[in-house]
Symmetry: C2
Subunit: 344 residues, 2 copies
DNA sequence: AGGGCGTTATCGAAATTTGGCAAACATTAA
DNA sequence: TTAATGTTTGCCAAATTTCGATAACGCCCT
């Protein structure tokens, strides 16, 4: 066996009560989580790191929208627990699908409530250095545009069992070399069998493009109150199509997406030390009614914005419930009713 | 009047027998022309340049696919002679439309046989420095995404008349300052009246995206024989939709587009000094049958590839009809029948 | 000249988009 | 708190668009 790891694998378990924290807890990943489901987040990562080969199980208690990017020159493989409720790049994951994305490439995951996913990341070098990988690496490169790989249920269940088994914390250290090799070989076996799942609805490209236009718009334009009509223009689609696009690609309605994105942005901002008050984070993200903001925020995250703020600003708790220090409220436009809480 | 030009305007007339030459004859433009219509090209440009204000009439004898980019910090306005047969960025031009694009922004023009277009380009600075331009510059910026501006026929005809009048070569020099101001004021009048023509078919975005994907593919992938099925995968559409997409956006069928693009690329290559033979240019662009290539080439451009080559390589005419010096023919795949001349 | 192959044209069926209307929900004012 | 108003979402039928199979056509090879 051509093994290159030098030390015993590094094992750790991290628990998070904030989606953003969880996003940062994965070693060598670049990612951002937006919480979609309502209620306080709870998550847990059990990771086993061989160096160049990373194995972990991630539990997320709330529905999430994840933007992920794995470390360079690697491949990620994901084995979600609830397939039919999971989406990768807007494509619904089917029962016999494994998720796969190369490193340095951003992809998007929509995950349901109370969700578990086994993941394995392996460096390209490690895959290629093994024998029995002759005609496979080419197929890998080809997999670039198909994030779902179809496998037989048998292979899939076997591999899942292997992953779970190796993740068991009761494993004795001497086995780690064996485990490393088992993982690589299992992966190669997987890849030999894999068939890209190209099945997408004919409308997929179009709807994806619509959602993408809205996202780009969100990223560039300041988050002033946006009406549905504006979104339609931006997305180059009718109301109903915009609706379908978001439901198909993200599983939520357009306005819900906007509100949730902005709430998550506000939460991130509240955690930054440079933010000096709740109202600053609120108004900066387009919430012009503090009370409404607090209530929406609390419904989504299960805690008040002031609580989040206090956690990241332990020094000056005194100004927690007042913005006397710096009243950062921006100019408030006349239409103060737009874009507040709506719908499901 | 706030005028800034220092000298008398520079006037010139250039005639071209090659679409590429014509593309380069416009001062300060970046463009590339692909000839679509069959027969020897003939074109003519009458230009009048005030510096920061450019006025010209362009005649093109053959149907063209133009990729254009105007000089930075400017706006271009175009008044085509045959509206219903002209497309800008895949949108059909209607009878009361004026074309408008900002500088540094690439756009695409499809023009019919025997076509004339009056054009005027003006620097943003020049427009804004004039009074009566207060609320107009904002609308201009807004015009970014709508290349067609709707005007009343009256205004349009008046302005066209003005342009033609000023282009007359019999004009006496003393009038040039007056003309300059007339043009600017006329433009401002136009812009005050303009309403962006947002009317596109619902399928426009989708079909444009399909064509764009094919173009990107053409640009990146080597031009090996491509089958229609591959194109469908690349474009994420069925055969029929691919067909519709090209007809709607470019007015030609997919394979015709491919062939014409490659023929035009071959012609460009033939004109480069670094190209050493006709067969090199042919095989490099996917033509593996020299005789077929010559015949196709001749039908499109009205001259033999060897003639084009000879024009740009006057020194060594001797090797015109032989490739003895450097037989650059590449490895020829088994399927030699793909992508040759077909259909209309 | 005829067969083989691939592209283009035709047409009915299926999928998608659209626009109108009603219901649900949020915001403002009383 | 309730009513008035405005916005978004859900539902449905009509119009448009896309799809898939088949036939016709043009080009290439024998």
């Amino acid at each position: 066996m051509h093994r290159q790891e030098q030390h015993a694998p590094h094992r750790c378990t991290v628990i998070a009560n904030d989606a953003n924290d969880q996003a940062g807890n994965l070693t060598d990943w670049e990612q951002e989580y937006d919480q979609i489901g309502a209620g306080r987040f709870c998550g847990r990562i059990d990771e086993l790191n061989f160096g160049g080969l990373q194995l972990f199980n991630e539990h997320t208690g709330r529905s999430l929208l994840q933007r992920c990017k794995v470390w360079p020159d690697s491949f990620w493989f994901g084995f979600p627990s609830k397939r039919n409720e999971t989406r990768i790049n807007g494509q619904s994951v089917e029962s016999s699908d494994v998720l796969c994305r190369p490193g340095s490439t951003e992809f998007e995951l929509v995950t349901p409530e109370s969700f578990d996913m086994l993941s394995i990341v392996v460096s390209k070098a490690k895959l290629q250095s093994h024998k029995a990988s002759e005609d496979i690496d080419l197929k890998l490169l080809d997999a670039k545009n198909y994030p779902r790989l179809r496998l037989s249920l048998r292979t899939l269940q076997n591999f899942r069992y292997l992953l779970r088994r190796i993740l068991q914390p009761t494993i004795n250290k001497i086995d780690s070399d064996l485990h490393h090799d088992l993982l690589i070989m299992g992966l190669l076996e997987l890849l030999a069998e894999e068939i890209p799942n190209k099945k997408v609805a004919p409308s997929y490209q179009h709807r994806k493009a619509v959602v993408e236009r809205i996202k780009d718009y969100m990223a560039t334009e300041s988050i002033a109150p946006v009406t549905m009509t504006t979104l339609c223009e931006v997305g180059c689609a009718s109301r109903r199509t915009l609706q379908y696009s978001f439901e198909t690609i993200l599983g939520i309605s357009p306005m819900t997406f906007l509100r949730i994105s902005r709430l998550n942005r506000a939460k991130r901002m509240l955690c930054q030390p440079s933010t000096s008050s709740v109202s600053e984070a609120a108004s900066f993200n387009g919430f012009y009614h503090l009370s409404q903001f607090s209530s929406d925020y609390r419904q989504l995250f299960g805690e008040l914005p002031s609580e989040t703020f206090a956690k990241s600003h332990p020094a000056n708790n005194s100004q927690l419930h007042s913005n006397a220090l710096e009243p950062c409220v921006r100019t408030v436009p006349a239409f103060q009713h737009c874009l507040q809480r709506r719908g499901t």
